[in-house]
Symmetry: C2
Amino acid sequence: MPVETVIQAARDLLGDRLATSTALREQHAHGEDTHPPSMPDAVAFVETTDEVARILALCNQEHVPVVPWGAGTSLEGHVTPARGGITLDMSRMTRIIDVSQPDMDCRVEAGVTRAQLNTHLRDAGLFFPVDPGTAACTIGGMCGTRASGTNAVRYGTMRENVLGLTVVLADGRVIKTGGRVRKAANGYDLTRLFLGSEGTLGVVTEIQLRLHGIPEAISSATCQFPDLGSAVDTVIAILQMGIPVARMELLDDVQVEACIRYSKLEGLAPLPTLFFEFHGTAAAVAEQAQQAEEIASTFGSQGFRWATDPAERGKLWQARHDAYWAALALKPGHKGIATDAIVPISKLTEAILGAKEDIAASGLTAPIVGHVGDGNFHTVILVPDQPDGLARAWDLDRKIVARALSLGGSCSGEHGVGIGKREFLLQEHGAEALAVMRSVKQALDPRGVMNPGKIFLN
Amino acid sequence: MPVETVIQAARDLLGDRLATSTALREQHAHGEDTHPPSMPDAVAFVETTDEVARILALCNQEHVPVVPWGAGTSLEGHVTPARGGITLDMSRMTRIIDVSQPDMDCRVEAGVTRAQLNTHLRDAGLFFPVDPGTAACTIGGMCGTRASGTNAVRYGTMRENVLGLTVVLADGRVIKTGGRVRKAANGYDLTRLFLGSEGTLGVVTEIQLRLHGIPEAISSATCQFPDLGSAVDTVIAILQMGIPVARMELLDDVQVEACIRYSKLEGLAPLPTLFFEFHGTAAAVAEQAQQAEEIASTFGSQGFRWATDPAERGKLWQARHDAYWAALALKPGHKGIATDAIVPISKLTEAILGAKEDIAASGLTAPIVGHVGDGNFHTVILVPDQPDGLARAWDLDRKIVARALSLGGSCSGEHGVGIGKREFLLQEHGAEALAVMRSVKQALDPRGVMNPGKIFLN
């Protein structure tokens, strides 16, 4: 058996860092998703780029699948070894290799988590902005899905904040892409080719990241509206005014009620709500906030509730980040499916109000949260505990995606394709563009060993 | 002859828009560079994506090279048909297909120029920021080189401002990449794969662009320093403070003297000078400018000279954009080679002071200008009118690139690889990464008909 050959050779290389116990294999059979789990044949707890390279060369030689694993926080089945093989657990590659304060950049290993990095950076007055909500996710995993989150509206996504990569290719060759410069016109943009490729083209082992200075002043506010449309119109007007908000998040009435209960938020009614954060100098923050508040008031808002001290601000954003868990807590014991549609801003009201109608028609519970400054919104569809529960939930997800596509949007703003969104790519990109993606895949991974069953349907 | 076959078929398709006159072929034999010119066999003045697709299918079938041509402003030989074939002149594809004010985006044909677009957008209160200096360059050409320019420090490059593309592949298939959303995690980032591929993977025919609101207030200033190092240190400090300057350009003493003469700039001494522009609300602009001026003064600057009214501001930036011509006017009749090195910001002083030493040692005249907020700087090496003049100029260019590479930089910040920078890619990327680029090229253009002789040495 080829996989036995690989396991034996990997054990020779890694010793007891090559695990085949059922417990560890089960732990690596799925992420935070509802797709059918599937166990790897073994889990390799790699510690260096060289170890990754040796294992990839082995797997390629024996035609054995390889699945990279960061923290297992994927919502789309990326980390499920759909065809078995070796899972590369990167969680021990946690070195922060270098931080340059004058260049505002750093180089880290792929297993470094967002939280670990920002704790490390704090004393240097720097931070890494991309914030998908969970503190546990790794920088490597965030590269895989081209992650973004609450402050992408101001600071961009992984696409804008990754300067370069070390990547191990399917056959074990190691390349460096990009570098430390802010821009370059020096050949094909391999960095951006690997970002968002979900482990299907190679394994990212090191990342050069762009950092930002911790702002002099930060203030946060919530703002409630009589209806969803007014909240979304406020967002559009703020973007058009060019106010550089750092975060601008929408929660619908159902989600706000869930957060009030789960996070003990005070002073909010169960109404559509925007969460704001402003970064800058004290004067700039004050001016931005005043402008945003004025716009919101013209759309019928009830004024800003401020959270200027760090503790209060922390509580507010923790509540936003816990929105997923707050949603699940509405129906204890139920699973949730997180949708991830994105549309052009001008279509956001239509997309969200349409989603509300679909949710009502489905009879399911599905609170809405959104990175609305980007046109991206999520629903957490609570899966009813019934035989057809999952099918009904997926059916609702498909309706929300279909409307986003019909409005010129995409099936995924930030969660990625993985297993769950593969069925939409043909409609979204067209057959020829999808064929180009396949030809790139074929060129870089001719044996199809890199995370098979993801992105492409077959 | 295969090329005769293609020319006959193209003439059937385009009529007198297929030109074979020597005058037109000579006009399309080179850009604004000093590489050896080489004529195409014919120039096709295409008007639609479909015409591009038909000609590419023909050329691919007959193994005839195709070179896309925008405005011919390339500085690295991109538009030179090094192996003959058909030049696709895109300059008649000038439709602005759609502008959305609420989404702040637009879709244009590849031959639309930067100037044409911004004139069109003005009444909508929008602008397209990427500004490589010349007004004549086309959006399609700017995609080819992943162009940037004076305000990339604030608004990003083509990488950040292109949302999607229509691309004709080597065999005539037409794909759409990206779309209208600000971000997406929906498969491989084909948009960024084609940006900067210099016509070697396909021909861009339409572009979806991200736009920005014209700022409420704009002000510009110049600021002079006793020495280059102090000017660069000012830039680093301003970036670290996170002041969102829109433009921050460096001119060395030689370049300032050239601009004073050429553009009749008043009130400036021949000293290292920073040109600033600030965008925002009136209050934000005032605060940013005050902070920048304070920082500059701690590095020995002589204070800001303001140009707040549009006419004065226009004169100042026209002078900056004419720096290349001002440099050439130092030695009438001489050609110029524009270098384009980029380094991490912390290495900028070393790179620029090193370049000054190299220039002095070479005995050549070469003023320095730089988009220093990105770590990118240019010298215009004036080619002496001597038999070995060009060789001496290239030798100086190589020294400047070699230092940039040794400092962790790149051979090109924005001009692209073309013919002139091919020799540096092996050192810059390493053999394996370059092999990955080649395998992508092979996958998308197996017959090698797309702009051969560019990016890759053979």
